[in-house]
């Protein structure tokens, strides 16, 4: 393959979002007929790089050379015209439209009289699907009648119909079953033979070595290594991916009691539609004063686990939960709050805060009965409590009656935390508590976590910032594809061990 000319060269690409650098001098070479793995932890810069290639971000430094010609894409449509197609986790098909209409959406084949030439589209779609080796798909049926694996194939067919030379696949197997994955890999092999180049993003170790030809590793927005897959053994790959500096400034003052506070046994969590399990057979426990970290890459089911326990998806299908030795009823968020559980969701804007309401109203939203005995709001009581939490969490706002949307990210997050502390929880589930906030606020939140655990709370923490997870957690469980793949304690909490388990290598399961 070395004698071939690269089809795509991204050279010295940098991208900044405000003050933070998402990418710094990243380069990648892509050859025709290869599956190129793009590897890196959450936040390594993979998706930013892909978005630049797809024309989503048109502002960046560096250059892109496509088939020996320098290019700069102004929009996703522009990139598509140049033969670059991306297949994302969220498919971009229109469910109620037919297969062939989806394939030609926006590029309909027209007759001379200005109407759509459906028969030409039908024939062309059938031809493409045949080329992909897919039978049994009626191109007249709506896309929604087919399983997700076929929908992915239809996306690929759409890419081929645009004559895409480069196909980007972002975690394409996350929703597929084993046979479907094999089918996808067969298709990828066929595409490679036809000379297409594929950029493949995955967090699954076995897939990397099964499908990849070459690999590029990113870390913290920087290029780390690129090599033919055979030259990078698993341990070397892990070494390349980890190695983020541990943050010495995060202080964890651990005061874990022996007393168990929270226990989960053999829990299954089905997705809200009930089609498949997001979480399978998970058991763990947390003690008083403990921070239990949950590590997992995208699609690991960690976030779904917390949501499921909290009752966000309704009653659980299988398994049991105990709080303080008593059975804990998983039914609804309201019921969970009453029993002493709190969940800080991972996206404060869509699931955490009511942005149009005031700071006070957000702080007290989850504990309103405290401030309204017999349904009647006691505004002064509410104000006083909000002021107390404002001071306790150091929320910087001149007036508590301001809309919460007027605050900075860090302060918004503190409001969300204040809401949950206000419910006086025994166990706090924190899903990405420091996502997208400034460093000073992060450290304040670490300090609050120390304070709350010292007061006897247990915290179950998800964070994709590995240094943060390692510094704060007393114990760590690692999840992969909805299951626990490792339990780490003490010296065994290392970035390597976590990443091995998170990528599906069950080598050190306790």
């Amino acid at each position: 393959m070395a004698e071939k000319k690269p089809i795509l060269l991204m050279h010295n690409i940098s991208k900044r979002f405000g003050g933070t650098a998402a990418l710094e001098g990243v380069s990648i070479e892509l050859y025709p007929g290869e599956a190129h793995i793009l590897a890196g932890e959450n936040g390594a810069g993979k998706s930013t790089l892909i978005k630049i290639l797809c024309g989503v971000y048109s502002e960046y430094a560096g250059r892109i050379v496509l088939e020996s010609r320098p290019v700069k894409f102004s929009s996703p449509q522009d990139a598509a015209r140049h033969g670059i197609a991306a297949i994302h986790q969220e498919l971009s098909l229109i469910p109620a439209m037919s297969v062939s209409d989806n394939i030609f959406l926006g590029r309909e084949k027209m007759k001379k009289n200005g109407t759509v030439d459906f028969s030409a589209q039908t024939i062309a779609s059938q031809k493409i699907l045949k080329r992909l080796g897919i039978d049994g798909v009626d191109v007249h049926r709506p896309v929604e009648e087919y399983p997700i694996s076929i929908m992915q194939m239809i996306e690929i067919a759409k890419a081929l119909s645009m004559n895409s030379r480069i196909i980007i696949m972002d975690e394409p197997t996350s929703a597929l079953t084993e046979p479907e994955v094999n089918k996808l890999f067969e298709t990828i092999s066929a595409l490679k033979l036809q000379g297409h180049a594929i950029i493949y993003i995955t967090h699954k170790m076995e897939e990397i070595y099964k499908i990849g030809d070459r690999i590029t590793v990113l870390r913290d927005g920087r290029f780390v290594a690129a090599a033919p897959i055979a030259d990078m053994a698993r341990n070397a790959l892990i070494r390349n991916m980890v190695g983020r500096e541990l943050n010495e400034q995060i202080q964890r003052r651990s005061k874990v009691c022996a007393e168990e506070l929270f226990r989960v046994e053999n829990l299954d969590i089905a997705d809200p539609q009930g089609n498949r399990n997001l979480v399978n057979d998970v058991s763990f426990s947390a003690r008083k004063g403990e921070i239990l970290g949950i590590a997992g890459l995208q699609g690991s089911g960690a976030s779904e686990l917390l949501n499921g326990i909290f009752g966000a998806y309704g009653p659980v299908s299988k398994g049991s939960v105990f709080l303080n030795g008593n059975p804990f009823v998983v039914r609804s968020p309201g019921r969970s709050i009453e029993q002493g559980l709190a969940l800080l969701t991972n996206d404060r804007k869509t699931t955490g805060l009511v942005l149009g309401m005031s700071i006070v109203e957000n702080i007290t939203l989850a504990s309103l009965p405290q401030y309204s005995p017999v349904c009647w709001m006691r505004n002064s009581m509410e104000q006083k409590a909000a002021l107390r939490y404002k001071q306790e969490l150091n929320i910087k706002a001149d007036e508590l009656s301001r809309e919460v949307s007027s605050l900075s990210g860090g302060n918004q997050q503190k409001v969300a935390l204040a809401k949950w502390v206000g419910t006086k929880p025994l166990v706090l589930l924190l899903d990405e508590p420091t996502r997208g906030i400034d460093v000073a606020s992060k450290h304040e939140i670490y300090e609050l976590m120390n304070r709350w655990t010292a007061a006897g709370c247990a915290i179950i923490l998800i964070t994709s910032e590995m240094p943060e997870l390692i510094a704060l957690s007393d114990r760590i469980i690692v999840m992969h594809r909805g299951r626990i793949s490792a339990r780490l304690e003490g010296d065994r909490i290392t970035q390597e061990n976590i990443l091995h388990a998170a990528m599906g290598q069950e080598r050190e399961v306790a």
Partner: protein, 337 residues
């Protein structure tokens, strides 16, 4: 005089003031009012009866708008308020005129019926996840049908046709006269008092009760509210129940003002109620709005109609102008960043 504040800070003061929806709602009302002072219909606008009559005529719309505001704050809509008004007018007339019910039984019965139908809408919307537009559209058609079924398609009035074709005539029930009367030397209609009472109840719910906070939270971000333990289903059922209840009250007022129960009463009133809420500044996307805004919205729409009628604008012109004014008011209301 020396200006105490410089021109720029004055500007920011005004623009700061304009951030509040109430300021904008008042401004819209003032604009309409000034238009009234200019086009005063030969001085008619300067006389109290014009204002008094406007208040009386628009009280029924205002009562409907109270319920509508509560529902819109949850990011919903209730298209059934006009039909519910008609149904309530028919049932109230039937009970008091034909069946000689004591009004203090008939009124609670009508109100309960409205509340129950509202609860049904709310249940369909929250429990069975039917879109508010569809669920209340169905309720609108159903309630109109029920009104026609109960009344046999006829207006329920004091002249009652017997089986042999002859008529018997009954007296107007005292309660009709009572509701249709005026107090304070004929300066304040009882229906206006009822409207003020409904405003007060809505204000209590939205600003003083826990459930009000829940309604705003649901409209602002339903998922965040649900995950904060807000009883979303109960709160929505409550909102539509209250809307049905207010519609029933409006129906009772309408029947009393017309001295009959017309199964066709209230057709398209839902649109006026929505227009009032929106002109006031309550956001159809939910989460924002207040009952005070709805009061200003009622006055704005009421004055608009009054001004057009005292200037003898033809109905065609009135409708077109109303359309233009609604759009202008909403543009004026738009939240500025």
């Amino acid at each position: 005089m020396i200006p105490l504040v410089s021109n720029t800070s004055q500007k920011t003061f005004i623009s700061r003031l304009m951030q509040y929806p109430v300021t904008r709602a008042i401004l819209a009302l003032i604009v309409i009012f000034v238009i009234g002072l200019v086009f005063n219909g030969g001085g008619a606008f300067f006389k109290w009866p014009a204002h008094r009559d406007m208040l009386r005529q628009y009280s029924v719309f205002g009562i409907l708008a109270c319920g509508m505001t509560i529902v819109i704050i949850t990011a919903g809509i209730d298209l059934s308020v006009g039909s519910m008004l008609g149904l309530s007018a028919v049932v109230f007339s039937l009970l008091t005129i034909h069946r000689d019910w004591n009004p203090w039984h008939a009124i609670p019965a009508c109100i309960a019926m409205g509340a129950i139908l509202g609860v049904v809408s709310g249940g369909l919307i929250s429990r069975f996840r039917i879109q508010p537009f569809i669920a209340t559209l169905a309720m609108m058609v159903f309630a109109r049908g029920l009104a026609k079924f109960i009344s046999g398609g006829m207006k329920i009035s004091t002249s009652i046709q017997q089986a042999d074709g002859s008529y018997i005539y009954k007296n107007d029930p005292a309660i009709f006269k009572m509701i249709d009367s005026r107090i304070l030397d004929g300066n304040l209609a009882v229906v206006t008092l009822i409207f003020i009472f409904c405003l007060f109840i809505s204000w209590l719910i939205l600003s003083r009760l826990r459930i009000g906070r829940y309604l705003y939270a649901i409209g602002g971000n339903e998922e965040a509210a649900r995950l904060s333990g807000v009883p979303v289903i109960k709160a929505k059922i409550f909102a539509y129940g209250m809307c049905g209840l207010f519609s029933a009250i409006a129906g009772i007022c309408q029947a009393a003002q017309e001295y009959q129960g017309d199964p066709e009463a209230g057709v398209s009133y839902e649109l006026t109620a929505i227009a009032i809420a929106v002109i006031g500044g309550t956001n159809l996307m939910g989460g924002r709005g207040s009952i005070l805004l709805t009061l200003f919205g009622t006055l704005t729409i009421g004055y608009l109609d009054k001004i057009l009628s005292i200037n003898a604008v033809s109905e065609a012109g009135r409708l077109m102008l109303t359309g233009v004014i609604i759009v202008s008011a909403v543009l004026l209301q738009r939240r500025r960043k």
